[in-house]
């Protein structure tokens, strides 16, 4: 599916690019593609969101058979928050590296020492 293409592109971007900001973008896209894959696992044909509204309050058995799985959605919400905090720390590190070394190239950082 589309998730696998996204996973492949993001992993290539992490491994083969030299600019630090592009590596961070690849990390974000990898996390998002895995979250998308997890949400797609719990789908049901002809499904409705697992939220009880007024028109389904009266006939609840129809709601039980039509509703989409709510468990992966709850897990993915937590995963999104954790990915966001990872991105925040990675960007802060990138800013400090730029202030210290003067460049953002991943291959040149090892050579310049202090």
């Amino acid at each position: 599916m589309i998730c696998m293409v996204l996973v492949a592109i993001s992993m290539y971007c992490i491994l083969c690019k030299r600019n630090l900001i592009k590596i961070v973008i690849g990390l974000t896209v990898l996390g998002d593609s895995i979250n998308l894959f997890l949400i797609c696992l719990g789908y049901k044909f002809g499904g409705i969101p697992p939220i009880i509204t007024e028109e389904y309050l009266r006939n609840l058995p129809v709601f039980f058979t039509l509703a989409v799985d709510p468990l992966p959605q709850a897990f993915v919400l937590t995963a999104i928050v954790i990915n966001m905090s990872i991105t925040a720390l990675a960007l802060a590190l990138a800013v400090k590296i730029y202030q210290y070394y003067g460049t953002l190239d991943a291959t040149k950082i090892r050579r310049l020492k202090g």
Binding site: I51, E54, L57, V81, L91, A92, V95, Q99
Partner: protein, 146 residues
């Protein structure tokens, strides 16, 4: 960091209260409609970032300073743990859904136990965490230690 042109400032003045209200609405109706604590907090953070980009850091720091942001963020995170512990004090198990708003009909805003409280604290925590992080990113480098 200065602000942007007049067009951006005028549009931001119109859009910022609307975005703020929609964020509060999504947070408060977290147990009725899709949304909840984290989603409403992200919308409030988007409001703060929009104001910061259009008006500059200096004018936003007069309204919501750094100390205020850090304090309220700590309060939000602590109240989540406190609301979870309150159930423990009264003899039930940890994280018991206490009946603060229990005496309401499901479908109103005042229903569903202690879920609205959790949503409010989570939204405050997430929005101010974003604001504090963006304040740190826009500092100039005149005096960093090596």
């Amino acid at each position: 960091m200065e602000g942007m042109t007049v067009i951006v400032k005028t549009v931001t003045r119109i859009l910022a209260p609307v975005m703020f209200l929609v964020g509060i609405y999504v947070t408060l109706h977290g147990h009725l409609t899709p949304g909840g604590g984290f989603q409403g907090g992200v919308m409030l953070a988007g409001t703060f970032v929009m104001l910061l980009l259009a008006f500059g850091v200096a004018s936003l720091e007069k309204k919501v300073s750094f100390r205020v942001g850090e304090t309220v963020k700590g309060i939000g995170a602590a109240m989540i743990a406190f609301t979870a512990v309150v159930g423990l004090i009264f003899g039930f198990w940890f994280f018991k859904n206490i009946g603060v708003y229990w005496y309401g009909i499901p479908g109103e805003v005042f229903s569903a136990g202690s879920l609205p409280l959790y949503n409010i604290w989570e939204a405050a925590h997430v929005a101010l965490a974003f604001l504090v992080a963006f304040y740190c990113f826009t500092k100039k480098e005149s005096g960093d230690k090596k």
